[in-house]
């Protein structure tokens, strides 16, 4: 039982990590969701094996499941759910703005990329570079 759950958590973590490293936002979101599920399963297994429902008054104490990890997992699920909703809203906003869900390169990466070809560029392109970094700095 516990081995199966541990294996499931491991698979979810692995898949989630792989999706997290993709460039499409939708995949990143799904990846984070999978990792979230993996952590919740891990939380559940941390209480030990299964047992009776943790209700006061019936049966031997040794048969009862540990209620604390269940409460923790529940809290974690709610939090993950909320943040995931926010992330989806942001992914949608990003699509509205760019009509694409590929994560863009860093400002630094782009500047280095441009500087690499800078030797061959004339002054006009140099001015473009200035403007580009200017506008990205100013429209906040």
């Amino acid at each position: 039982m516990s081995v199966l759950l541990a294996f499931t958590a491991a698979v979810l973590f692995a898949l989630g990590t792989w999706l997290l490293l993709q460039r499409r936002l939708t995949r990143i979101v799904i990846g984070l969701g999978l990792i979230g599920h993996g952590t919740n399963i891990l939380l559940l297994t941390s209480g030990g094996g299964g047992g009776l429902p943790p209700v006061i008054g019936e049966g031997d104490k040794a048969d009862f499941a540990d209620p604390l990890p269940q409460a923790l997992a529940l809290t974690a699920i709610v939090i993950t759910f909320g943040v995931m909703a926010f992330l989806l809203a942001m992914a949608y906003r990003s699509w509205q703005l760019t009509h694409d869900d590929v994560v863009a390169d860093d400002l630094e990466d782009r500047m280095i990329e441009r500087r690499r070809g800078k030797d061959e560029l004339d002054d006009a392109d140099d001015a473009n570079l200035e403007n580009a970094s200017d506008s990205s700095g100013d429209d906040r």
Partner: protein, 505 residues
Amino acid sequence: MSSALVPLPIVLPLLAAALTVVFGRFRVAQRITALAALGANVGISIALLVRADDVGVVTMDAGGWAAPLGITYVVDRLSAIMLVTSSLMLLVVLIYAIGQQGVKGIHVGFDPIYLVLAAGVSASFITGDMFNLFVAFEMMLAASYVLLTLGGRSDQIRAGMTYVVISLAASALFITALALLYSATGTVNMADLAERIPQLSDGVRTGFSLLLILVFGIKAGLFPLFFWLPDSYPTAPGPVTAIFAGLLTKVGVYAIIRTQTLLFPPESQQGTALLVIGGLTMVVGVLGALAQDDLKRLLSFHIVGQIGYMIFGLGLFTVAGVSAVVFYIVQTILVKTNLFLVAGLVDRHTGSSRVSVVGGIVRSAPVIAVFFAVPALSLAGLPPSSGFAGKFALLDAGVEAQQWWIVAVALLVSLLTLFSMTKIWAGAFWGEPESGDRAVIAPEGSEPRPSRGGPPLMVAATGITVALSIAYVVFAGPIYGLAERAGTDLMNPSVYIDAVFGSDR
């Protein structure tokens, strides 16, 4: 010692957040509620600090369930110091935000979210339960996601994506760490953990120690996990960047200090690893800053550098080292908030925050120049600034522990920080402005009258932070005494544990 004041810094902002949502249509009422709540928070925090310094540790069991069954809230000297500092900064930055956008101009969602952030920050400092710490972090982070992207412009969304995804990944690691801790020890109460972790085998303990450093290191911006920070912070609106820069990373540092000193016995504390990480963080932070042109990005890299100093102090694991960190962390919060508020003033005054574009602020707005000079000297650590006192305490502790190489690195980084600050000063404050500079375009002919720096509330709020950091060095003696008592408590975890479980055991 128990006190009913303990949960108020969490409850009050949350209550006020609910009220500000109700008052959404009445902007003035919204502002007054938020200001009153954060103002009351400052008072409560100071009362808690006085109380905590009096008796050592103040605790409160939520719902009357005694530890380790219930959630315990604990205010020791470190928590109280952090509470006072954070509540002061939250209040000052709110005043600044009102000054910047006008009483009616602020986004209707700003106040509620800002108050939730305040509650999350307080909760992180107060809680004595690992899972509750996770909830507090999430409360703070969820609020910060919204504040960072409030407005929904494309650069904000892009930066926000990096920030949210990295924070979520860190949170997933945090839950993983909690699940493993619970299965190994059967508790998530910090005081209880502190008693049970020493019974674990050595390898498991080291694993937990490193895992927790990793989790909080992402939030604190340690090398090599800092890359998200200079990308995301500068895109937020001015006041939001100031509060992020001042507080959020320091909450991560607080969590590292708390978990490393309380939970782990001396033999599994990662002293050397933390010293190396601290040194690398300093060097990378300051080198990154030297390469930047945009004022906010430049200062964001300096945040990373400052975090390195704190980790260096903690890595010594001596009373002097930890006391110095406590003293230094407060100083950095004041100075960093101050610098970002000034960056906001510069942006507003000249229309740009690029050092190569703006210039001549010394002549066009002397107030801004003065407000920049004080924290800049502090950041570089020149006497008689508050930064000098902080860095001197750290280096003194390093010399005492005979960690010469890290002392040398810290001195070198200070020198480079000074160089970076002179670069800003020479470029933006002395240098000739370029045509992109709004301040020089306006008047034709005669010498323009020096500006008063911006809207009165913005200038006043920045002035308060300057005054606070000057007061910090004037009263450095008593404050360092307090930091030393906090450091002594931290290096002797039984004080904390006994207070949580009560003296009747």
